[in-house]
Amino acid sequence: MTAGAQTRVRRLGLTALGALSGFVFLIPIWWLVVAAFRDPTEALSSTSVLGTLIPRSFSLDGFRSAIEDGYLRAVGISLAAAVSTVVGGLVVSSLAAYGFVAVRTRLSKVLFAVVVGSFLLPFETLAVPLVSVFSDLGLANGLPALILPALGNGLAVFNLRQAFLSVPLELAEAQYMDGAGHLRRFWHLYLPLCRPALIGSGMILFVSQWDSYLWPLLIISDNDNATASVAIASNFGPLSSNTQQAFAEVLVLVVIPAILLLFTQRRLIASSATSGIR
């Protein structure tokens, strides 16, 4: 075999391997999408396995009954919580990151270790005592209860500090000479220069809130304030035969962050290549 043919065979093998491995992830997702739009009567009559992957009927019944059950309200609450978490979390973590970069004393190092270390711990593991703390403070059952614990995110603080460290000190000094205080340097120099890190950290914050299930389950007792995940779980039993509605609801739950991730995945790879998360 010539070298050229060998390369061609190798490339063909890699292409096949790439597609096969991709199918491991693509087929279940495809199945979910098809099933969410399938006519419930067809689902019952269909016995063929391949048939479950081919869309033969189209029905919005699942979505309709989800809306009738008030799912849109739950999605709205999840969105409000996630967006507030991104905004509030970026404020909290970028301010802290600036503090750690602008002031380099021993105290700043210790605080950095404490803040990032504690925030790397998923707060869900503290959910049980956190419920008592929040109930005592009268914070249970509302949007603040969902948002507050998610504001502290170790990776977000770490990312932003890493990005701020890469801002040339000469620039900050030049601004200082021009009489710019810390707040102005933070706002007019550091934040605009670190947009990719802000986007990456914003994604991390969004996903952490959007993914949460245990915490909203424990802290929100009023059904009208349930988040999307909790609303789905309250109607879902794994052995129930009507999956249309659950799948339609899951699809909505998936599509919203997927759109965001598709736009930012490349950025995420780029930003984790320049920051220290590896």
Binding site: I29, V92, V115, L126, A127, V128
Partner: protein, 295 residues
């Protein structure tokens, strides 16, 4: 004189530091330190079952009770077993995907995105879709029967429940960790790989002797960060198995919440949580050291 200005400047710097980190510290105290302190405190006390307001300090009694109970050791065993089941799949799987999707091939970007897609599915979404697919009469069992294999119990069988939850978890996470390893792979200087190739290294040799050693730190990071994440998996266990069948899937995280909410034994739950925190704290310390190494 200069000593005094130095002191003033240092005071001002501390002021700036505290002003900027203030909001983060407030969140830290309210949502991390307060519950940690509370659980530590509560794990050393006992509440009178007939009078909820009266409690007494009982020292290590709650912990002694935990560690002398066979049920708790079972829970610890399930937790460790769960981590042991998920971690290799995640590390080997994400490394394989990262290696594969950094080769030259058509539609590479698309496949990368596809592999990453499951990470966009919230844990409850994963639970619902796999719960339906893997139920006794579900599509996976129908497929098995169609090709002449026996149907499996999956999460409804005591033997398969934990591995099933582990697989669902790994399927949903492997593409996420792949991203970190792709970043690590792209970071390896081309010259090093070219040099290896000029020296006549086979692809396998190149991977084992050049790529793997240079990828050590990102791999370690994935292993440790993923372990932290696996410790707190809750949704699939609560929704699909509720800790069963016959306690086969009651991990420490699940059991702690159950002790607090279903059995209403706050003190016991707090003691369990302290154990979980010690396990996690150790892992996070390792993770932090790995992040620090990167600076």
């Amino acid at each position: 004189m200069s000593g005094r200005t130095h002191q003033i400047r240092r005071g001002a710097r501390t002021g700036v530091l505290l002003a900027f980190t203030g909001p983060a510290l407030a969140v830290l105290i309210l949502t991390r330190l307060a519950p940690e302190g509370l659980s530590l405190f509560a794990s050393f006390e006992k509440v009178d079952p007939f009078d909820g307001d009266s409690w007494s300090f009982v020292g290590w009694a709650n912990f002694r009770q935990l560690f002398t109970s066979a049920a708790f050791w079972h829970v610890l065993g399930v937790t460790v077993w769960f981590v042991v089941l998920v971690s290799p799949v995640i590390v080997v799987g994400s490394l394989y995907l990262a290696w594969l999707y950094t080769r030259t091939m058509p539609m590479r970007g698309l496949w990368r995105t596809v592999a990453f897609l499951p990470s966009a599915i919230p844990s409850l979404g994963l639970t619902v879709m796999w719960g339906v697919a893997l139920k006794p009469t579900g599509v996976v069992n129908k497929t098995l029967e169609a090709i002449g294999l026996p149907a499996q119990g999956f999460y409804s069988s005591a033997a398969q429940a934990l591995p099933t939850i582990a697989l669902i978890t790994a399927w949903g996470g492997v593409g996420y960790w792949m991203v970190f390893l792709i970043a690590g792979l792209l970071d390896i200087p081309r010259e090093i790989l070219d040099a290896a190739r000029v020296d006549g290294a086979t692809p396998w040799r190149e991977f084992r002797s050049v790529v793997l050693p240079l990828l050590r730190r990102p791999l370690l990071f994935v292993l440790v960060a993923n372990t932290v994440w696996v410790f707190q998996i809750y949704a699939p266990i609560q929704v699909l198995t509720n800790g069963g069948p016959s306690e086969a899937t009651s991990t420490l995280m699940f059991d702690t919440v159950r002790t607090a909410t279903v059995y209403s034994n706050q003190q016991q739950a707090m003691a369990q949580m302290v154990v979980l925190l010690v396990l996690l704290g150790t892992t996070v310390a390792v993770q932090f050291a790995l992040l620090g190494e990167r600076e």
